[in-house]
């Protein structure tokens, strides 16, 4: 017995399939068609395309930075040639032909700092988002699907975490567990899941209402079958759209934590660059290149993720255009 295609296809299939294929091939063909249909809709959103371009640029930067020269991060390896035309006493050096974005107070090129920082900042954002969505989805689906007692317990836990101001909690956790990139990722992941859980639970509940879930159960399908075949495919779009938005929040959170000095002292992220700049007086001496370059990167990347997330949201929840 072939699995039913559960997601609504708003438009009819474009033409008949050329030849008889196995059920698996048909399913995959359908999925590829659905994907291309999705892409043609996504392409029409200017916000979505702009966001995607931004992400591609920064993503490429982050990947390429793996192959870039790591010595540009070292404070001791700086030579006079690196910081020309400034001398060691004139650091931090404003932008010039040698260093297009200037240097920091130790003579390191801001450009390279920011390129390497991209890798860490994006990594933190992505991993934290994955943690958030995994926990949030598990909690949300279980709470929505099983209901009653587990729902109450899980949602109470989520509500409790929502009341606690996350930065205050983060400060406390950081002072307990130390300053390590994984602690930072963990803190962000573990404090952000309640929001996602709420959202996914709501979606699970509305999917559960649909008749085909009832029918499945009546046919004797086990819970696991119902969840994986019916609930998951219909909740997945919301999970993915939300995951994108959570990356944006995670990057913002990491920068705040780093700015307070709670970041990993051994890694360079955009947040730690700003923290070092600020605590070494960049504002009073007016070293705007040192402060504003990583700031610009944070803002642009978060903007990119937010725009992509919004564009996805528009496709998943299309709004009736009134007036």
């Amino acid at each position: 017995m072939k699995t039913e295609e559960l997601q609504e296809q708003p438009q009819p299939e474009p033409g008949p399939l050329p030849e008889l294929r196995s059920p698996r091939q048909i399913t995959w063909t359908r999925r590829r068609l659905a994907l291309s249909r999705f892409w043609s809709r996504y392409r029409r959103s200017p916000m979505g395309v702009a966001g995607l371009v931004i992400l591609l640029i920064f993503g490429a930067t982050a990947i390429l930075s793996i192959f870039a020269d790591q010595s540009t991060l070292s404070k001791v390896a700086v030579t006079e040639a690196d910081i020309a035309p400034c001398t060691f006493r004139e650091l931090p050096c404003p932008p010039n032909a040698n260093n297009i974005l200037g240097t920091d107070a130790d003579g390191r090129s801001v450009f390279w700092l920011v390129v390497h920082g991209a890798r860490m900042s994006l990594l933190v954002g992505l991993v934290a988002s994955v943690i958030t969505m995994v926990i949030g989805s598990l909690v949300g689906i279980v709470a929505g699907f099983v209901g009653r007692f587990s729902d109450t317990v899980l949602m109470r836990m989520a509500d409790f975490l929502l009341v606690i101001p996350w930065l205050a909690l983060a400060i406390v956790l950081a002072s307990i567990f130390g300053q390590n990139i994984w602690v930072v990722i963990g803190i962000i992941g573990f404090t952000s899941w309640p929001g996602a859980a709420r959202l996914i639970r709501a979606q699970t509940l509305s999917v559960k209402e649909h008749l085909y879930v009832e029918r499945s159960k009546a046919l004797g399908a086990g819970s696991w079958y119902v969840i994986s075949r019916h609930i998951l495919p219909n909740v997945m779009p919301i999970i993915l759209a939300n995951a994108i938005l959570v990356v944006a929040i995670a990057i913002l959170s990491e920068s705040a934590l780093s700015f307070l000095g709670l970041g990993d002292p051994l890694r360079v992220t955009w947040g730690t660059i700003i923290e070092e700049a600020f605590s070494r007086g960049a504002t009073s001496i007016g070293a705007w290149w040192w402060l504003l370059t990583p700031s610009f990167c944070i803002v642009t990347v978060v903007l990119g993720f937010t725009m992509v997330g919004y564009a996805l949201d528009e496709i998943i929840n299309p709004r009736i255009r009134e007036r």
Binding site: A174, S255, R319
Partner: protein, 328 residues
């Protein structure tokens, strides 16, 4: 009366949550690895003999069984005794320090929240109502950019612009270090120092509130009672005010309340940027110096603030939406 039951119910829930927060706070700081007394001696540089250390432990109540400590903690908290600061203001009662610093943060966060909410809601309603027009497009782009900016980045931007380059505002603090202005001059001085952090916090969140209200309004605009209101002959503005905005406000209030925790987080970083001597900066100093009593106290204060904000939002929501008042 449905309303009374609703409000009382919410207050009761708030107390329950407060209790959980206190418990959480208590155990959180017991989890800290290392012996607080050893840490004290190490960082203060004072040498204490083993006997003296035990005496200190006894004084701090660390030798009592856990349940006793717990009850003592709860009782102390309700009496207003939050312990004694170790490093930030050595010897001072934590509550005294809070008395000094909390009002400054309240003024900053309170006024900026009111401003950003009011501005965000009004603009969001108009922007959504006239979707796609000049106001909406410019406000949307502005909001997206502001939303993507960390609060401290905005603060640093203003600091560079207005203080370093334009010399319009002081770089930080609460009032001028020199001079003893009184009365109006004092207020003017305080406002002068307050302005940059205030405008930073206001702008940092107005974008988010705009987007939320706008989105909520767009959802409401498709409802039939909006068509009905127009069919009755109401002017556009009245349809917006009496029907669309009143309903769009409901989910918006909930979302704003949920984001209050982030507002407090933002306040901490902004106070740091402008060296504004409020609770935020205090917690940062406590963090740097490992002053656990103060940290425990600030954690409590922040959680309490979010709790109160949520309570106010819940009560407000009950006032706005008659459906929740008619309880199950």
């Amino acid at each position: 009366m449905g309303t009374q039951r609703y409000v009382l119910g919410k207050i009761f829930q708030a107390f329950l949550t407060l209790f959980f927060i206190l418990t959480f706070n208590f155990f959180l700081f017991r989890v800290i690895p290392g012996d607080p007394v050893a840490l004290l001696t190490k960082t203060s540089g004072v040498e204490l003999s083993g006997e003296q250390q035990q005496q200190l432990r006894d004084d701090l109540g660390l030798l009592d069984p856990l349940p006793t400590q717990y009850v003592g903690y709860i009782a102390d908290t309700f009496r207003g005794d939050l312990g004694v600061s170790t490093f930030v203001e050595p010897g001072e009662q934590v509550s005294t320090v809070f008395f000094r610093d909390l009002p400054k943060t309240l003024v900053l966060v309170g006024t900026s929240t009111i401003a950003s909410v009011a501005l965000g809601l009004v603009l969001g309603a108009y922007g959504g109502w006239r979707r796609g027009r000049a106001l909406d497009l410019s406000a949307m782009s502005g909001s997206l950019i502001l939303y993507s900016m960390p609060e401290f980045v905005l603060g640093i931007l203003f600091l560079l612009l207005f203080t370093k380059y334009l010399h319009l505002f002081p770089s930080g603090g609460y009032k001028s270090v020199t001079g003893n202005a009184t009365g109006l001059a004092y207020i003017a001085d305080v406002l002068n120092h307050l302005f940059l952090p205030w405008i930073t916090l206001t702008l940092a969140y107005v974008g988010e509130y705009y987007l939320v209200m706008r989105s909520s309004l767009l959802d409401v605009m498709g409802e039939e009672y909006i068509s009905l209101a127009r069919a009755k002959g109401l002017r556009d503005k009245l349809v917006l005010r009496h029907h669309a905005a009143r309903n769009a406000l409901l989910p918006t209030v909930t979302l704003i309340a949920l984001s209050f925790g982030f507002v407090l987080g933002g306040a901490i970083t902004v106070e740091l940027v402008f060296s504004y001597p409020g609770i935020g900066k205090l917690s940062f100093d406590a963090l740097r110096k490992h002053d656990f009593p103060v940290l425990q106290g600030t954690f409590l204060v922040f959680s309490l603030a979010v709790l109160v904000a949520n309570l106010i939002a819940d009560v407000l929501y009950g006032y706005l939406d008659p459906r929740v008042r008619s309880s199950a």
